[in-house]
């Protein structure tokens, strides 16, 4: 299973597409924090207490992330072995984009970010709910969110990480269709969509972080 290079790459594309789908869903919830805090609380509460989300979708998501980055590292190591001695002069920018050649770098930054993100939100939430077994107060989500974005260093880390995610998706999202063998007369249009998504969604997350940070400074 998954021993062939193509099989590995298809698994990479499928897990990547799953994460792309998840990212859109995550963004939809987060953007409500800018529009209406009550809606944000309500939706967060639903996601945090619904057993289907908590015990089925959440484990699938964690598996998807872990699978994707472990497979990414395996593929990278194998690819590195294919050229043990490099070129003295290498003009990679003449024939390909930086983003496409450095998926492991943008991926590693996103992985480091996910570590911070889990520490920021997921770990406290798990302790709150399942260790201390507190009452699931619906109103707690928004204040917690705002509190996290007080620290300008954290906001800066978020911004940098999402810029690298832009690079990752700029290449990765459209590349995944080619990987799955899909390259036909519709591909051009689809490519356009993937590029817009790759910029817009991470830019949206950056906007939310900056908004929450500067909004509380002005109060």
């Amino acid at each position: 299973m998954l021993s062939a290079s193509i099989a590995k790459k298809v698994a990479m594309a499928l897990s990547g597409l799953f994460l792309v789908f998840f990212l859109a869903q995550h963004f939809t919830i987060n953007i409500t924090s800018v529009i209406d805090p009550d809606t944000f609380n309500e939706w967060s509460h639903f996601m945090g207490t619904n057993p289907l989300v908590q015990f089925v979708l959440q484990p699938i998501l964690i598996f998807g992330v872990v699978f994707h980055f472990i497979m990414g590292i395996i593929i990278e190591l194998k690819n590195n072995k294919a050229r043990q001695k490099g070129y003295a002069k290498y003009a990679g920018n003449k024939n390909s984009s930086w983003a496409s050649r450095n998926m492991i770098i943008s991926g590693a930054v996103v992985l480091a970010f996910l570590g911070l993100h889990f520490y920021d939100f997921w770990v406290p939430e798990m302790i709150y709910k399942y260790v201390e077994v507190n009452e699931a107060l619906e109103s707690r989500y928004y204040p917690e969110l705002v509190h996290k974005f007080e620290d300008p260093i954290r906001v800066l880390i978020y911004v940098v990480s999402f810029v690298l995610l832009m690079f990752h998706l700029w290449h990765g999202f459209s590349s995944s269709f080619q990987t799955m063998g899909w390259n036909n007369k519709f591909s051009k249009g689809l490519q356009g969509f993937t590029k817009v998504y790759a910029i817009a969604i991470p830019a949206g997350f950056i906007f939310i972080a900056l908004y929450l940070h500067f909004n509380q400074l002005s109060h």
């Binding site: 290079s5 193509i6 790459k9 590195n80 050229r83 070129y87 003295a88 003449k94 024939n95 390909s96």
Partner: protein, 248 residues
């Protein structure tokens, strides 16, 4: 024009190798890159030095043997040509040109700029053919009608000359463009359908076994390909591979 050449010299497959600088004078803009190297070699032989070993044969862009990495790009700075089709007018007086062998674990250096590309032959032997009886009762190929579009596409794929520029350009030293062209030239024809599953499985297996990297879809291969082999071939080999996996 006068040029400085920074050339990779390596005595044999197991030697360490290093760059050596050479000055060439009186280079004419109308010389091909290989002719420029001929001039250098004639000079080296006159001086009693070992000439620079490089691969070449047809010198008209059809055999695919003149593989050199020139200033960081396979076959030099221009698109859709091989090194033998590159002319010195693409360079300027006083330039320093870095000339290296193609670098890939699956393409070991034999001597100086010459690499062993027999890995490509073994991929081809793993399935890049159709099994037909050629012992007297051959059937005329034209007796099986083929759609014009498919025939053209198959022909385009078949124009791959196995030069290895795709591997040389790729960050992963992947042979996917080459292998996908060799799979596509049959996958599009009714004659190739019979062995389609076996072909793609065996050729991909051999490609991996030779130590080529996987495809990250950077697209460097088709930019550097002298024959403009399309990336659609790579989508096709992925598709053929998935189809064959599901079938088996």
């Amino acid at each position: 024009m006068k040029l400085t050449l920074k050339i990779w010299r390596q005595k044999n497959a197991s030697a360490k190798g290093a760059f050596k600088n050479y000055n060439v004078e009186d280079v004419d803009g109308d010389m091909s890159f290989l002719e420029m190297l001929d001039v250098l070699n004639a000079d080296l032989i006159d001086k009693g030095e070992e000439p620079v070993e490089f691969d070449h044969d047809c010198r008209e862009g059809i055999c695919g043997s003149c593989n050199l990495q020139i200033n960081g790009r396979p076959h030099g700075p221009k698109r859709h040509i091989t090194t033998c089709q590159l002319h010195m007018r693409s360079f300027n007086d006083g330039d320093t040109i870095v000339i290296e062998p193609f670098r890939a674990t699956a393409f070991p250096v034999i001597k100086d700029l010459v690499v062993d590309r027999s890995a490509f032959d073994r991929i081809q032997q793993a399935g890049g053919y159709i099994s037909v009886n050629t012992s007297g009762n051959t059937i005329d190929a034209n007796s099986i009608p083929v759609e014009k579009e498919n025939a053209d596409e198959a022909f385009n794929s078949a124009t791959c000359i196995g030069c290895g520029a795709c591997v040389a350009a790729c960050v992963n030293a992947s042979a996917m463009l080459f292998t996908s062209a060799k799979v596509s030239q049959f996958a599009l024809l009714p004659q190739g359908e019979v062995e389609a599953s076996r072909r793609v499985m065996n050729m991909v297996e051999q490609m991996d076994k030779e130590g080529f990297g996987g495809c990250s879809n950077t697209g460097a291969c088709y930019i550097e390909c002298p024959k403009d082999i399309s990336l659609e071939n790579i989508a096709r080999i992925n598709r053929e591979y998935l189809k064959a996996s599901v079938e088996s």
